[in-house]
Symmetry: D2
Subunit: 310 residues, 4 copies
């Protein structure tokens, strides 16, 4: 396992300080009002390791809208619930298309390319909405248990906004339904999907929640088995090829870690057999990834030699 140098805490602060102005290069997501109001200059970062260390800097304790990062958690729940049957309904290939493209879904006859593009995550939401009597509560309960923290909620304002502005996601869902690949009623699926996206969490909560992916499925803090080693491997593989929208290849090329971003400005990166990094800063680049978040994770990965491709 990679060693962490003694002065890493101060190095982490330096990395954050270097980014003080970089957030101006991006734009805060404005497709829903609730996201547009977040102060753009906030930024935080956490490195949590599987042996229990936590390094923090900046606004690491401030909760933000996890948005697409929720796709990881939904995917793990669905894999646990329906097993390999999931992969009859969704592929695991990179998309080569913007994350919400409907064209590819049509080509592939309603089978999403992978579970972390919107269509795939809506399909996962269908699995959850169909198999849990109260899927939103089950999701929240899963998150709280992973973070070992009851203070995790759905942001109702964000949730309302999502529902109002969710027409494209509705189009994706109805298109899959027309191909027979959605079981529940579309409005119920979307209700779950938007609720899941609207959860607020901090960098610290997210980093600690995901440690099981760096530890073959066992959460190192609770020692609970969250998923099989095989499924932890699979999630990391999917995040490596597809987790950063249409910049996934570039992120692999330049950073080299399984990662997932959300339009709330958060990014999580899994370092197998080491730990999890979570960075947050609201302004996004043209691909929908946090500008400062990417810089922070790149800096930490280089500092500690974390890439999986070396």
């Amino acid at each position: 396992m990679r060693k962490i140098p003694d002065d890493f805490k101060s190095k982490l602060h330096n990395l954050l300080t270097l980014q003080t102005l970089s957030y101006k290069e991006g734009n805060v997501a404005d497709y829903i009002p609730a996201l547009a109001q977040v102060p753009p200059e906030l930024m935080g970062v956490v490195v949590a390791t599987i042996d229990g260390k936590v390094f923090t800097a900046g606004d690491y304790d401030t909760q933000f809208s996890i948005q697409s990062i929720s796709k990881i958690f939904g995917l793990v729940m669905a894999m646990n619930r329906v097993g390999d049957n999931l992969w009859k309904r969704v592929n695991m290939e990179p998309s080569g298309q913007p994350f919400n493209s409907i064209i590819q879904l049509e080509w592939e006859k309603g089978i999403p390319r992978n579970p972390v593009i919107n269509a795939g995550a809506i399909l996962v939401a269908d699995v959850l909405a169909s198999h849990y009597s109260a899927s939103k509560l089950a999701f929240l309960s899963f998150m709280r248990s992973l973070a070992n923290d009851e203070n995790i909620y759905i942001d109702q304002e964000v949730n309302q906004s999502e529902l109002i502005h969710g027409n494209r996601n509705a189009a994706l869902a109805y298109l899959m339904k027309s191909f027979g690949n959605i079981e529940a009623e579309v409005p119920d699926v979307l209700t779950h999907y938007f609720a899941q996206c609207s959860v607020s969490m901090s960098c610290k909560q997210l980093a600690q929640s995901l440690l099981f992916l760096a530890n073959k499925g066992i959460h190192p803090l609770s020692n609970k088995k969250i998923c099989t080693p095989k499924d932890a491997h699979r999630v990391n593989a999917i995040l490596s090829t597809s987790g950063m929208y249409d910049q996934s290849g570039e992120f692999a090329f330049s950073v080299g870690l399984p990662a997932k971003s959300g339009v709330g400005g958060g990014i999580v990166a899994v370092v197998p057999n080491f730990g999890v990094i979570c960075a947050w800063s609201p302004p996004l680049n043209s691909f929908g990834n946090s500008v400062v978040g990417m810089n922070l994770i790149a800096g930490i990965a280089e500092e500690l030699g974390l890439s999986i491709y070396h």
Copy 2:
């Protein structure tokens, strides 16, 4: 570094024996006669490590047409020659499309998605044809030096067949030319490209040639610097997201190694900080990947715990 168990040699033989009949599940590439004639039951495998060990089984010493595996070598030569300028002309994103699709090239205005789909490799061939006075000889010389073996040649029969059946690649080249993204004359670019694809090598030659990618750019046998550590990282990243045609995501999901296949039936997989696996068996699955080759690499990766996502 991963340890190799003492009985690995016999385990490797067992893995090969298990595949004795599996080749019947695939079909030998028949788009050119010269490939169609290779006996389908041949199969070989090599594991070469950066500390100089070599494990072999089956027809590991038989030369076969490396085809798209040549894209790795061409890419390294072009990166060495023109540096980061290369990335202004080709992206590093997974394609989400069959490997020779012209649709994506049109959408992206003549910029190939990555250097290991056909369009990208033709662009790389343009770089080589434009920057070397005798690019075919330079390529061959690079291969011989990497393998430390002069016995590497272009198969003239394969090469002739490629030229005759290369109309789709010609279409890709002319389309890029129409967007101003090919510098040399198209016939010269294609001549280099097809020559490169027509090189014959054995599993052993291929595995040893690529050890530098597992060793931060330094060839461990000759101690020569073949490329920068950064470029070795980049090649591994590209192979991870895009090396196995439209099955790249599934290969990451189930095996978890940077790899590249060719329609001659060869597959190479890089294990960072450990070594290189090369497997060969001519019959291909519907994605163009060797059936037995994939099984062999999956078996070895599991046996030795080589995945980069764990």
Copy 3:
């Protein structure tokens, strides 16, 4: 004006007789149960002229589901209501794609290619649902007035089936909504759209209803102005390039009349300055056009020399 030979009535019967077995070459639409139950061997045809003659054969008086033929009437209502503003929201180009393709709608950013593909007709339904307090009644009333016949209704069984199986149309509507090109609530738009498609009419009612398109906008039987001469021209032009789904070019090529088909098996063809032909037979070819309907119209057009391209 083209003359009708004296023996045309018997010729029309002969044309129908020749088709007695041809319906077996097609398949009755089965995407909704209500349509699948119509006896496939029924067939009827009507030629109505602007000087008041009506020639009939077969089941010309039997009502059937007009389906996409309703798009003509919706379009005329919307043009009358909002004028040229309509053409800011929908184009008038042939689609070059299957009639319900979502790909093109995505490419063109929510602007349908023309008002007689599904997306365009849903947009027209939005215009009607937004501008009429009771758009379904207004539509029905328009149809009854054009046909001068109160015996025209929405088939409730068909309508229910459409709503249940309308997921692809819902996807089209939500996609347009996401681009800001739908004003009303999507469920209201779809309710109007499916009601309109579920109207039942006979060949005779349809042929007489559409005579205004052959007569520069004036209905020759009532002498009422239904639309401007310009709009009659426009509708005929759109039907010529796009009225027969992805077989529109072939229909122009071989028959040469503005026409519109529906999956209920009806086809109407407008002969400018002459009259309207309506043929009906439920079994469809692979493009969704009535096999016998096309043959009948082709035969009549040749018999009377009606093509607009000669």
Copy 4:
């Protein structure tokens, strides 16, 4: 047959005068230098009727590069030569795509949508290059005979430019070749295609050449049968749905005549049973159609009531 009013000659001059400044709204084609040099203010128009009348205005006698208008003549030659076999290799559907799009050709597996988009016209060029020992001479001879004028030549400067800048057309040709839909060698096909596009003719020569399409295949001046009535019908149908690039639907909608434009600024329109209009003015709109040419033909069609949709 439509009557021509006595004062039509002066009306034609008035229509031209009204366009004096409109050419400034367009841009002369500049993809090849030889076209870019034509003075933008030149404009001419001819109306030729099947009973031998000719009305002219402006630069009606100046020769210009006919470019895509040549596709009509090539098509007629190919239909005469191979009959209905042609339609096994090219469709007759509108394309719904920009005229040189390679995407559709890939989708439809090398079968062009129609013979007047570039791919289709290249296929037609293959038919001519394969079936004539000297296809360029045969084409020129056909043109001279139709125009009854020996003074028709290939512009060598334009032809050279086309060859140098023809990479996209080469891509289309090689793609069709890869699908087995090109018989001759691609360079020979392109040589014919570019020669055909590089012919120079005047408005008067073009209008008179095409009179057979308005007269069921018989050239009214020579009384020679140029093609069958059926094939004249078919050409007019194709021009109606597809002759004006991606503005074909709009041209039908607003003018209502079978027509074909070229990037040299010429447009021809066929009026069945009446005659042919040819207008020319080099500056093009964004679809590649002459701005003034479209206005002139629209004005004449309205003045004389020529639309086929009324």
